[in-house]
Symmetry: C2
Amino acid sequence: MYHKIIIVGYLGRDPEMRYAPNGQPVTSFSVASSRRYTAGDGQVVDETIWFRINVWGKQAELCNQFLSKGRRVLVEGTLIPDTATGSPRIFQRRDGTAGASFEVRATTVRFLDRKGETAEGVIPDIETAEGLSDEEGIPF
Amino acid sequence: MYHKIIIVGYLGRDPEMRYAPNGQPVTSFSVASSRRYTAGDGQVVDETIWFRINVWGKQAELCNQFLSKGRRVLVEGTLIPDTATGSPRIFQRRDGTAGASFEVRATTVRFLDRKGETAEGVIPDIETAEGLSDEEGIPF
DNA sequence: ATTTATAATT
DNA sequence: CTTTTTTTTT
């Protein structure tokens, strides 16, 4: 009866801010989260997952203002399903083929520095970062 | 560079165990994670997300042995992408339409009791459950 | 160190 | 209190 996703990754592009019919700001951006592993046959494999992040309200404005392509972020949120199926929403690509994406509604976006280092010198790992501010967790 | 998903929900069916070419056991089952919210217009909405869980090795055997339809579980794991796209894998439904699913490789599956109560009387919430055993987190 | 491309949440 | 869909990972 609950789920939560936590992502650390890099923005693939500059964020885009829009306004919902209500006037609420939404900003969207894609985050790449990669891992490298060695397969059973010794091949090194790079696996990248792309998440489409949506963030609302004041955090939308902050993300739009301060984030840009290549910036690293920690996102906490929930996956957005197709409400008809409970699965990822299917959309039509330009070439007519079907596509789907991991869409996330962010509850928190934390800005991390570019080079794997915070102002203090080391990025807190996921376990510690999870406990940080939930509402306006922007380090400015 | 990292992501993690945590799910609490109910099995929609009995699990199914298979064996990978290596002889490693894999068991798969679907978990429904629902939330109810009141939309802006006052409508009460039930949103259910379905996750397809894959669990390997010894935990596969334990899940196959002890879980069944309707059982509640806490799953910790990572989303499995289509490696070609980094997005959910698209498959063809029987009727020819495209489908996709949230596939998860579980690192931990914890069995929860049916009625929202553990043997001790209360289910630990997500925050506390996250800190529990990572390897063989089966309460037997 | 980073694509592709839809539409709008509680 | 549950579902539709395939195949197999590190």
